[in-house]
């Protein structure tokens, strides 16, 4: 256990001493803070516009007023879903791309492996270290977000809203860890860190942009086809094909669950947390399964001689 913690501590220390990592992380934190500020300001403006209309109607002697806009508190934080999905994933890739390949090239893996530690402990140590960095990062963003949310919007989140927020960050942690584990696996398998990084950027672009875009295009196509043929009166929001495409995109799954948790989807904004989890359980597994499979493969691959 001591060896694992030592390895984890080293991963954290080297990450926070890397200037590029600090810049990407800083960008991630700043963007997430800005997103809360913009979200809160937009909702405030929406409420202000409603108040202005009421005032105007009152001055005109009207006695019946339109219903106030339905504002779900957490939807203020909706932009953070995209930032975690996009920039957070890049942070996780940057954190993991040299975990093995870089240390193999500079001979450090050999120096670690001649110590009384098992090879699977090396993977566990690096996993814990990377997890601690990602967890710390998300924790800082969570605290910033809640504080800013209260200060800018003037609203205090309820217990239920706080639980939703915590669950979202837990999900974000799992999502980013999948990217970290995938990058670590690539790093075990390749000697070339630059190649590993490029490969992971291709994976990132595919799951974050290409597949969701394909699913969206398919949805639009289905909508246009249905509208032209006038075969249906109500167009389904999702089609079987687009849902199947999204199965291969943890990013799309993460965004879907995130929107439900952060009250962006009006239908589930007031639903119980348990019902959201049960409804999204398939999507949660679709995020977790690649991570579990690749972590198991990492433990297996690291036993091979050529890893050193």
């Amino acid at each position: 256990m001591n060896g694992i913690l030592t390895l984890a501590g080293k991963e954290m220390k080297t990450a926070f001493k890397d200037n590029i990592f600090i810049i990407i992380t800083g960008l991630f934190v700043i963007l997430s803070v800005i997103s809360v500020y913009v979200g809160s300001s937009t909702k405030n403006a929406e409420m202000q516009a409603y108040q202005d209309i009421i005032q105007m109607l009152k001055s005109q002697g009207e006695t019946s007023f339109p219903a106030p806009p339905q504002i779900f508190h957490l939807s203020v934080l909706s932009n953070i879903i995209s930032y975690v999905s996009m920039i957070g994933a890049v942070v996780a890739i940057f954190l993991g791309f040299e975990t093995f390949s870089g240390e193999r090239v500079n001979g450090m893996l050999k120096l670690i492996a001649v110590r009384p530690v098992y090879r699977d402990q090396i993977v566990t140590g690096k996993l814990l270290g990377g997890g601690a960095v990602i967890g710390l990062l998300l924790g800082v963003i969570l605290i910033f977000n809640i504080t800013l949310f209260i200060v800018v919007s003037g609203m205090v989140p309820s217990i239920s809203e706080l639980v939703r927020l915590l669950l979202f960050f837990l999900l974000a942690f799992a999502y980013l860890m999948v990217f970290y584990i995938t990058t670590m696996f690539v790093s075990i398998k390749t000697n070339d860190s630059a190649f590993g990084f490029l490969l992971m950027m291709i994976v990132w672009i595919t799951v974050s942009f290409v597949l969701p875009q394909l699913a969206d295009s398919q949805r639009s196509f289905a909508y246009a086809l249905s509208a032209t043929a006038q075969t249906v009166t109500q167009v389904p929001s999702d089609t079987v094909i687009s849902k199947t495409i999204e199965l291969f995109s943890p990013a799309a799954q993460f965004q879907n669950i995130g929107k439900n948790l952060l009250q962006v989807v009006p239908e589930t904004a007031n639903a119980s947390i348990l019902s959201i989890i049960l409804q999204q359980i398939g999507a949660i597994f679709e995020i977790l399964i690649p991570g579990i499979v690749l972590l198991t493969m990492s433990y297996k691959s690291v036993q091979k001689e050529e890893v050193l």
């Binding site: 450090m108 050999k110 110590r115």
Partner: protein, 240 residues
């Protein structure tokens, strides 16, 4: 301290090391000589538990390098040919990391002790990436001896060092051997260094051990050869 019995390593059809049987006595400095690709690094990799032998056995301090690999690792220190360490960390941070992995107690006082011995205290809080090759090699030695190993493996320890660096490295190794009683096993190309520091040598060529004995005895066996270099080529030539 170190015994190998018919140790061998094959990669598919290619034999890297074959039937290697040798003994390295406690407190000796063993120079392992051979041309590039002779099997020196493969041998060190097997003895340091980094790779598994495909045949034979090896024992360090009485422990089997395959079956008791964790116990063996507690007894050995290792310095690979090229050491970069963690460039963004200082010497102390690097050493603290390796010391903790080796289970060293009172790590900070041990680091101070080692750095003082290596005359390195002045630079201990500077980042490794600012060091010269010679300085890195000294920190490389420091990480290898932090847990006071009984047996120290060095792969080309003076490779790429200038004459001052080479002498400094030789002085350190002699000090370790004399004061701590550390047994040293070093791969090297530099025959001049071998004559200055080694008590015993082994010569390997194409994966086969051609000779292994004390330097004195080997020199007596070849009275006509004036230098170790001549003896080395004679042995390689005779046996091939």
């Amino acid at each position: 301290m170190l015994i190998t019995e018919n140790l061998g390593k094959k990669y598919g059809e290619f034999t890297a090391v074959e039937d290697l049987s040798l003994e390295v006595k406690e407190r000796s400095v063993f120079g392992f000589l051979g041309h590039n690709g002779a099997g020196k690094t493969t041998t060190i990799s097997m003895l340091t538990t980094l790779i598994l032998p495909t045949s034979g056995r090896a024992f360090i301090g009485g422990y089997d390098v395959v079956k008791d690999n964790l116990k063996v690792r507690n007894l050995l220190g290792y310095l690979p040919e090229s050491v970069t360490l963690y460039g963004d960390l200082t010497a102390v941070e690097n050493l603290r990391f390796f010391g903790k992995l080796s289970g060293v107690k009172n790590i900070d006082s041990r680091i101070d002790e080692i750095l003082e011995m290596l005359d390195f205290t002045e630079w201990k809080n500077k980042k490794i990436k600012t060091y010269s090759k010679g300085m890195r090699q000294r920190i490389g030695i420091a990480q290898a001896i932090l847990h006071k190993p009984k047996l120290l493996f060095l792969d080309e320890p003076t490779s790429g060092l200038d004459p001052q660096g080479t002498k400094a490295m030789r002085d350190i190794l002699q000090k370790l051997n004399a004061e701590w009683g550390t047994t040293i096993f070093m791969n090297t190309h530099l025959l001049s260094e071998v004559t200055k520091i080694c008590t015993d040598i082994g010569i390997i060529s194409n994966g086969k051990l051609l000779a292994a004995d004390s330097l004195e005895k080997i020199e007596k066996r070849f009275p006509e050869e004036k230098s170790l270099e001549e003896i080395y080529f004679k042995i390689e030539g005779v046996k091939q």
